[in-house]
Amino acid sequence: MRKKSASGVIASLRGSTYGLSKRLFRQAIGGRVKTVYASLLRSLRPCSRNGASWRAEVGRVRSLAFLSCPAWRFNAVSHLDIHDGFRSEHKFFRSLLGSIGGMMPRWSVAAGAIVMAMGLMGCVAQTHPQDLFQLQEESLRNRAMQTRVFETKDEAELLSASAAVLQDLGFQIEESVREVGFLRAAKERSAREYGQDISRFGIFVLSTGLIFVQQPPIIIAVDLHQKIAATLVTRPINADATRQEVRVVFYRVVWKGDGSAGNQSIAPGEQRMEMLRDPVMYQTFFAKLSKAVFLEPFAL
């Protein structure tokens, strides 16, 4: 379980490290050539979404935001805690860099930031679209985790039972197509975590030393809000349709609050998305579903 979450952690870490170099850069430059640097970065990595304002993002997210994650905090906790550990570590790194920035001449920080940004850009793995349409090693594993088979003829019953389970878990059903056995549901919940607030305070206290070099203390952005989403598909897997397969996929979108680094404020609404690949979450869902349809499911 830990291992699986790690891939998500790395992904979010990578993304945020990129944001870090951006922010540091912005801070070093003093915000004057903000537009130039922004367009420069964009031209170098046209696909990055990090750090863009929520308003700019909203259209794109809407396409995916219909899905939302669980109020099963108890399930999600283990998953989220791992992230949190990593995140606070790298936030500390960010504050450390920020305080160095306060002590060195601005031009040297700017130069350093450029070098760092270049290095980081080289390091961020860019997936080629052609790889995305190929089955990967973990595709099979994910499929096994997300799929259960039920011995029933009644597909409509299975679908409505699935809808009921999703409702029990606090989801709102957003779309349903009976003919192809498709359901889409979402829910919005708070994404506040104590760990993040504590590290925010800790970094604020640690960085108060910056006022001696006429820099305001650093306030890091914490996760505020999340949307957890599920798509569910049922389909018969043999010719006379006596066996039905149910496949469910969960993912979430997280919105961050505001903060500031140096003289530059970080606008609220920066967002991050991730697939939820915690097996426990899927096991819980299927346990509830099998109770609802009085059937014993079996894995593929």
Binding site: G15, S63, Q130, L132, R184, V233
Partner: protein, 144 residues
């Protein structure tokens, strides 16, 4: 001397006006299909030996889910499926795909897929080859 300056000015103004006033004339074949369009369409289209459109739709959904896509929308009567996924490992880029499924009279089904990578259409034939290969496998499993 003064005359010269005025003349030059007038000449420039005339040039500017002429350029500003002539809109580019649309050619008659503006909306005519180009070779590139036809090529992309043939890359994006594939015909399968499946009679039932619903079976084909379920096969497409299963293939997309196997590829890690999130199904956004499915419309049975139009035979339309929209899906998206993050370009993992980075979660800031999005790959979107819309698939249309149409039954042909000869008992075959034509499937057309359009994929975009962050708002830019994907025109690489290899991408579509990979997609149809996965789809073929998925449809084959359904038939059994």
């Amino acid at each position: 001397m003064r005359h010269r300056v005025v003349e030059t000015l007038i000449a420039w103004v005339v040039v500017a006006i002429t350029f500003g006033c002539t809109p580019p004339q649309p050619t008659p074949d503006l909306l005519a299909p180009t070779d590139a369009q036809m090529k992309i369409r043939s890359i994006q289209t594939h015909s399968f030996d499946v009679k039932d459109r619903q079976t084909a739709m379920r096969g497409v959904i299963a293939a997309l889910q196997d590829l890690g896509f999130i199904i956004e929308r499915a419309n049975e009567s139009l035979g339309l499926i929209t899906a998206a996924r993050f370009a993992e490992p980075n979660f800031y880029d999005i790959v979107g795909i819309s698939v249309t499924i149409r039954s042909e009279t000869d008992g075959r089904t034509t499937i057309r897929a359009n994929a975009i990578y962050n708002n830019k259409p994907i025109e690489d034939p290899k991408v579509y080859q990979n997609f149809f290969a996965t789809l073929e496998r998925s449809l084959f499993v359904v038939k059994q």
